[in-house]
Symmetry: C2
């Protein structure tokens, strides 16, 4: 699922950014969505349920992200009523906001061209 | 393979745009690459070899694109020394240029943010 979509009916334009660091993807649409889901649900397991993803796969994505940045983006939260969970670190929040900002900038930049594009498509 | 990449070592950012029309993708990175390859090689078969794609798959992509726009983007060229081939129509050339322009605009728009992003990644 894309993270940013520019809706201009009848067109819908997905803007996907993938930030590569060496042979790893530091962050892309899937990883950004996972970060957002962990932020919202407060747990990797709940994020997995929300995204229909296995825990192992989610953990590998988190581990890969944690290794690409200066410090971890996701950290465990121990104890409490819920028996612990996971949360974004302040760097995790910053990286997610920066990624979203880049996608919003990209979507905004192409908006004038979308009007030109629309003239060329098939009218239903 | 992405169609537009913003290189700012050690980061490399792929900018992928997918233009949806109803439940079809009118144009995205793969279709744009196919158009560019047909334009360069003058044949769907040669484009398939270049992209490692089956002729049937390429033809389905071309057929889908042709149906999404006001008129065809790719047309057959009959006869000649090579026994015919395929070429982009003037609308095909326009659509490919428009798509590339959108990707360039998107890449340019995120460039300032990439500098901010780089400060947060792991230094090797």
């Amino acid at each position: 699922m894309p993270f940013t979509t520019l809706d201009d009916p009848p067109l819908k334009i997905d803007v996907d950014l993938r930030v590569h660091l060496g042979d790893q993807i530091a962050i892309g649409p899937g990883k950004a969505q996972l970060l957002a889901s962990i932020q919202r649900t407060g747990s990797i397991a709940a994020a997995c349920r929300e995204m229909g993803m296995s825990y192992k796969h989610a953990w590998l994505l988190v581990d890969s992200m944690n290794g690409c940045f200066k410090s971890a983006l996701v950290e465990a939260v121990k104890g409490g009523k819920t028996g612990g969970g996971a949360t974004l670190t302040s760097l995790g929040v910053e990286v997610l906001e920066c990624y979203r900002h880049m996608q919003a900038l990209a979507a905004e930049a192409i908006r004038p061209e979308v009007t030109v594009f629309k003239r060329r498509i098939q009218e239903s």
